[in-house]
Every structure is written in C-alpha cells, then in structure tokens.
Subunit: 552 residues, 2 copies
Amino acid sequence: MTKVIDFQTDPSRYRHWGIEYDGPIAWLSMDVDESGGLFEGYELKLNSYDLGVDIELADVVQRMRFEHPEVKVVVMRSAKEKVFCAGANIRMLGGAAHAHKVNFCKFTNETRNTYEAALADSGQNYICAIKGACAGGGYELALACNHLMLTDDSTSSVALPEVPLLAVLPGTGGLTRVTDKRKVRRDLADVFCSIEEGVKGKRAVQWRLVDEVFANSSFDEKVAERAAEFASASAKPDVTQGIALSPINRQFATDAVTYSSVEVGLNRAESRAVITVKGPETTAPADMDAFTAEGAQAWMLRCARELDDAILHLRNNEKHLGLIEFQTQGDPELVIAHEALLLAHKDHWLANEVLHYWKRVLKRIDMTSRSLVAMVEHGSCFAGPLAELLWAVDRSYMMLEEFDGDNRPLARVTLSNGNFGTYPMGNDLTRLETRFLGTPEQVEELKNSAGAALEAEAAEELGLITYAYDDIDWEDEVRLFMEERASFSPDAMTGMEANLRFAGPETMETRIFGRLTAWQNWIFQRPNAVGPEGALQRYGTGVRGKYDMERV
Amino acid sequence: MTKVIDFQTDPSRYRHWGIEYDGPIAWLSMDVDESGGLFEGYELKLNSYDLGVDIELADVVQRMRFEHPEVKVVVMRSAKEKVFCAGANIRMLGGAAHAHKVNFCKFTNETRNTYEAALADSGQNYICAIKGACAGGGYELALACNHLMLTDDSTSSVALPEVPLLAVLPGTGGLTRVTDKRKVRRDLADVFCSIEEGVKGKRAVQWRLVDEVFANSSFDEKVAERAAEFASASAKPDVTQGIALSPINRQFATDAVTYSSVEVGLNRAESRAVITVKGPETTAPADMDAFTAEGAQAWMLRCARELDDAILHLRNNEKHLGLIEFQTQGDPELVIAHEALLLAHKDHWLANEVLHYWKRVLKRIDMTSRSLVAMVEHGSCFAGPLAELLWAVDRSYMMLEEFDGDNRPLARVTLSNGNFGTYPMGNDLTRLETRFLGTPEQVEELKNSAGAALEAEAAEELGLITYAYDDIDWEDEVRLFMEERASFSPDAMTGMEANLRFAGPETMETRIFGRLTAWQNWIFQRPNAVGPEGALQRYGTGVRGKYDMERV
C-alpha cells in the first residue's frame, strides 16, 4: 500500500455516497461501490468501507457545513437492501500494514468526531436511520450520530462483533461511545460486545443502544417525521446561501508540496518535513459580506484547508518523516486582522464555521503522531490562530535579537483574544490552559499581553516558547535537537507524545484517541489478531483464529 | 520465568529495604541487594529493582499502615552512595516475557498508588529525599511521593531517560505524574524526557520536577527539619499501638490454593479459576476494642488480605486461566454485621485502615486483566463489601428460585451503606455510580434497598446482576458463557475489558492504567524496543538500538 492517498475530492467524483438536499434536511445515503476500493485485493461488499469511502464522507460532512448552511438535520441511511453497513472492510484490514491500520482508524475517528460535534458547533444534527445489519464500524458510524432509529425486523440489528469475530476492538470510538455516550450498563456492554449477531428490536432500546425502534412498515415515515421535528425545533439560524469549496491550489514536486498559503518541504535525508504557513498578503476583508464574497479564497479559510490537507498528506504518505517543523512567514498584524474580523462576528454563520474549522485543523495537528516543533524565525507571523501552533508542538525555538545578514523583521509572537477560548483542544481546555495547568494565573496574566508583539526574551519569560537563541547558538542548538530527535525510536516518541500532549481533564475524544486507540494499536500488534493464525488473517477462510491463551 | 512468585513477605526476610521507626517519622532506605534478584540472569546494580524488590516495598507500605499507625511522615531515601535509584533493572526487563513486563508494571503502579494515597487515606505523608542519580523508575518512585527534595550537587539529578536510552516509556506513572501531578509545562516535559542525564539543581525546581533543592552540606538537616514540620503539622490522630499482620494461612495444592476465608479452585482444563469467598462464621466483634484484639484474625481484615493474595497469585502465576469466577458462601447478615461495625467507627484508625484496604483490594480486582464473572449461587453472601464483586466483574449470573436437590438458602444480594461511597473505583465513582452512569436516579433509589435481602427477580429488576436463571436453564447458560469466553482472543478481551470497566470521569490513576499502560504495552510489542536490534535488547552492549523509522 504505497499508493499516494489523496484527501481531496468533490461530489462529482463520489463513488460511495449519495446526498439529497431537501431544505433544512439532508438525506445522506451510504451506497458503497464494491469495486471502488482504494487499493487492490478486496471488494467493498455489504457497504463495508475503506479509507477511500471515509475520505468521501469527510468531504460530504465538510461541504455540508460550508456549502449547505441551510441544513439543520442530516439523516444517514443505507441505499442497500438488508444491510446498513458492515463496518471496515476486513480483507482490507487483514492486508494492511500496521501503520495504515492505525492511520485509517485515526482519520475515521476524526470524521466521526466532526459530525458528532456538528450539532454543538453548527446546529447540524445527525440522525442515523438503521435498516438492515449495522455491525462493527457500521454501528460506530451510527454511534457518532446523535439520534439512532432502528427498524424492528428480523434482519435489522446493531452489533459490535469485532472481539468474537476478529479478535480486535471496536476501535473507532465504539467501546468508548457505548460506555460514555450511550452510557450502556457495563455488564450489558460486555454481553453486547461478545455476541456476533448483535441486538435487535426493543432490547436495543432497553439497553440504550439506540433511541427508538419502529416496525418496518412505519419506519420511513417515522424517520421523516423525526427529521422534520428536529429541523423545526432547531435553534440554527436560517441561512439560504453557502459558499463553494472550490478545489484547493496544490502542486506536488519530489521534495515539496506547494499550496497558495502553505509550503511543505520534504527533507527525506533528515527525515523531516517543514511546513511553512504564509500569512495573508492583503488587508482583511472589510466585513462579513466581503469575507463571504471572497469565500474559499479568504485567507482564513484557504489557509485552514491547505494546512489540513498538508497534515493529512504527511501523515499518510510520508511516514518516514518523523519530525514536522512549523514555520510561518508574513505580517503578524495582518494575521491578527484577518482573525479579528471573524472573532468580531462569531454569530455570523461563516465566521463560526471558519473558526470551528481552525479548531479542527489544530486538533488534527495535536493528534498527529510525529514529533512537532515550531521554529520562530525572523519574519514569522506566529499570531492568533498561527500562535496556537506554538503550543500544539512538542517544543519551540525562537530567534533572539538580530541575526547577521538576516534583514527580516525580528521574530515576535502575538496573542489574540482567539487564543483564550476559540480553539480548544480535545481535552476541552485551550492550549494555553493545558500548557499552564500548574500555574493557571499565568493564563490570566497573558490576557494582558494580547495584541502586543512579543520578542524572544518576553516570549520566553512568559513561557510561550521553549528556547530563545541568538545568532551564535541558533544553528547548533536547532541541529542538535533535530539530530537527537532523529536518533530516537519513533514508537517511543509516539507513545511519549500521546501522553505528554493532553494533560488535564479527559473527554470522550481524548479517551478515544488515548485509551481506546492505544489498546487497539497493541492488539493490532498481537499474533492473536494479525499473526498467520490470527483471527484477522483467517477471517473468511472458514477457519477461526488460533489463539495463544496466555493473558497479559 | 516460570518460578512461582510469592507476594507474601515480612521484615525478617527483607533483602532490599531498611526501615527505622522514630516516633511519627519512619526512615525508609532503599538498599537493593545486587545478588538478590527474583530470577537468574541479572544483578540489581545501582539500586535498580525487579518485582522482588517491589514486593518488599509493598509489604513495608502495608505494614506501616497497620503495624505502625504512629507514623505520620515517611522519608524515602537511598542507602547507597551517589545513587538514589536507577529504576527497573533493564536486563531483567530485556529478558522478561511480555506478560511478565506488563504484570510487573501493574504491580509496581499499584504500590506507588498506595503510598501516594496514604496521605489522603491515612494521614501518612511520603517525602522523597533524593541524593545521587534518580532515574527512570527511580524518579517514578519519587514522583509518587508527595514532597520531593533534591540535593544540589554534581551527581544528583532526576531523569526519565527511558525514551532516548531504551525506546520504551516511563510507564510506571512517570509521564502521567509529570503532566498531571507535577503539572510540568509540556514542552519542558518533552525536553526532560529526551535527555538521558536528567535535570539538576535549581532548574529541577523551576521546572516543577522537585519541590526543593538544597546544598549537600545542609541536605540531611533540611530533610529532618521538613519531616519534623510535616509530622507536627499532621492532622493524623496519635495512635501508639498498631496490630501485627501475622502470616496469612495458605496452602497450595495442584488444583487449589486454600486460605482460611478464601478458596481458589484452578480448573486448568477449562482455563478458569474459581475464587470462593467464605463469609464470617461468628458474630461480629462487639466493638472496636474487640476488633483490635482480633487484629489480623478479624474476618474483615483477614478476608481482604487473603483475597488480595489470591488475586496476585492468579495474575502472576496462572496466566492461562483467562476467566476468574467469583463465588461466595456464607451468611449475608453476618457479612453486613462485620462491615457495619467498621462503617459505624470510620474515625477509628483501624476501621479506617481496613475499609481503605478493601477499597484497594477491590481496585486490584478492577485492574485484573482476566474476564471476571460472579456466580450468585444459593447459599451465597454477596453483601456489603462482597456485593462490590458483582459490579467489579464483567457480568454476573444469579440462581432464580429453588434448585432441585439444593437446600442452601436462596441466593440473594444485600446492599449496605458501604456500597454508596466506601469503596470507590479508580475513577473516583462508586461501582454503582459507574454502573448506572446513564441513570443516576437508580443509585438514589437503591439506597432505599440497603439492608434488604434481594432475591434474583428483584436483583435483576434493580439492575444489580446481569442474568437470573432457574434450575432448568442455569447449567446450560453458565456453560455456554464459559465456552464462549474461552473461545475469544485473550488480547481482545483485555483491551475490551480495559475500556468497558471504567466509564465516566478519568483520574490520574485511570490515566496511568488506561492511556499510559496501553501505550507502553504497545511499545513492549514493537521491534524497535524488544526486537533483536531493539534498544531494550541491546542495552549495555555498547551498541544502540537500530530502529525502523516509520512513524505509526
């Protein structure tokens, strides 16, 4: 699986999803093309999915937010007879390398989190209308919706058969959402996760696995009724016109990926990628009408989309680049001005969407299992949303005073009001709150510095960066750090960073990416799942997995 | 490593720890005997430890609570020159099987949690006085203490060098306590965990890694001063006389381990252990004086000690028994009466200790990575602390109505006030609160049932058990469950149970056992750590680990 995976798509290219817009209600149909797998070697039977199916879903969900702000309710359904969704394709999983399995699960988790949060963030509420078998990743898809409706017939059920069938976990949030979202009693959850055939009808409601169950004959009617009810009860303001998410501007070269506001340098010799974000080059739009007219070309939206794509590209296509270095170049005041327009109009639907999108992009960076570093060079614009990068990374270096022959403006960091609540991490704290968990009074003090251009000494003093070095030490210190990082085991880095990045409270999201994912990754290494006699390899052969029964 | 590991010891057999009692202050010295390793093949140099060292430490900590209630402050020190503790012995780790590594970390974590909690639970406060190198597991030992003092000299430092040196994590709570207890800024934590040589002197205080640093010349004096201050400021009531923890009564046979109040049946053919807890046979002591006179023979204490030992024995010495079945036999009213005496005298030091000990034993069960089931048979006494077993297990079966030829009293479940707050889980909720996370009103209602003997129908109706079966179905249903469980991958079970058992809020404890442990287990499977060219295997050979640099 070394094919380059492209995370960009658009409705004209969808093979697996149908979408009908009907005023405030969007009808989303899963209709996976069996022969449309992203890789060779498996067929996507029974609405099973691979990463390609999920890339389209992520695109649908994203476009719904920007292109169809009129949508208040999304009804997720299957277009197949007798099956809702059979989950992740097992032959794909069985054939995939460990790293692909892990990245696949991470991306699908991020997509599910996005549509789960669409209600709170944008007032778009997802209903899952389940007809037919809804198993494994299929039920995990459903669990991320906010209202689950099940048909009461002999073929319709919800199930998490991973453990008995495949010797792996329902790892796309399934176990966590069963206990923490649906709040299923733990012994019933134990039973539920042990039975291949799942749970049907009224019992599914009694066990809190779904919200409602209806006879097949009245099901479609009830779903339509519920969708209409939710739409009319919605507090989401009416917006008739969205903006188009036009294709992003992107060129691939051997050692670089170039976007309009993001440049990715691929330094394979040193196992490092450099993402340089370029600040806006023009003044901020005068008002939200002007911003809306710029649409996908407005810097705040364009930059978020490009940065998002760059991260996904590196995660999935450049797995040997273990260090991602963030740089910025541009005018910090312009960054602040572009952000300020949106902060001042948070109640405008598009400002709201763009700010929430930045939140998601920054979370995607938090969740990226590469060592992350920020280099605050002269001429940089770590300000407002870009300043968040400084606290998303594992550590940061900042140029102190003038450098010989460097006539760019002195490096500085500029905080905005956005840094104090607009872009929370998965733990629901801001990055500054997480950073100063032991000294929360420092966050309060920093509010006084919002708007000021903080040079290296001040930024270091305030704890906003890790190290400040002058011209004499800079090069050596940066080189030493990079050499050191490149000498460490990537696995140990992954584990260390996953633990150090998320101090403080836990949320369902941090539990999914922390606890659940870590256990799944462990299981994805165990012979009982992935060995030649493991259940995942043997699935479909008619022979069950053969297990070493020692308990660890 | 198939030697039977015995978790029972006493001061006369200690090889690695010294303890001096000086009124309210206990001076605990780590003085590991190099040649006293639990297994062959390694020397415990530089105060490095293996499971044997930790078994002694757990014994010290436990005896301090029961035998020396006069102790208010424990000062943990090293008896070696120039080294505090080098952490877990690396050759031991390199040579150990995966399961042993995991069990070793779990037990050491439990011991650290116990002495960390001694302040809140019993008013015993641990000071760590660090002279010399304090690295890896050595610093994790220190981190579990509540006040860290460091000598300011050239050889004294704190360090977590696992990642750079061994390609594994500081997995005994290290990463979690750095971020969540010490609240070290995350970029500084990243730096700290990347430098082999650690951090010394004032910087260790600035980075929040220790609380105080003093010159070598005044260090001992300052430690003594601090210990005296803490002791005199302690709110712990003065108790002059403890009770002796006499050796537990235990016989090993091929298929059984027999204690006075606990019987363990080892059904190797069916990969199952049956733990039968026997209720008290005599009336409860009349008052706390009578209880104190019974001392370690009092049922509430004796049973907890025996159950604790049984769990540890199964975890470490019977790894192929994937299912632990809990049974009880006895008079539920007597169990309630024995518990009631302690509940009525929670402010009595010994009642407090015994109840906290039950809390720890029950937590140890929660953390046991075996499938757990309770069989509520006729004649059983699932009442008060023993009723907790019903909600510690993954599921439970209860006998409904009379069984042919069985003249034991009908099965019933009896709640006590103790079930509503005395034995919280690691997530700081009671087992009932965790169970009814989605319907908290049920916990309130259950308080009305405290004291009532609930037969199967009522217990099922109230959600206290999973299934109630009558004489006709019982045997088949139980057999089917056991066969099913025995057919599943033990790894998938471990991952599933680790996720389903701890719904609701997270604490430092659940993060250590959930997130941190899971990542460590993953890394303990990865070739970069444990493969022939991995860092753990190569340590000490002069050749560094060779890594596959792909990031997962």
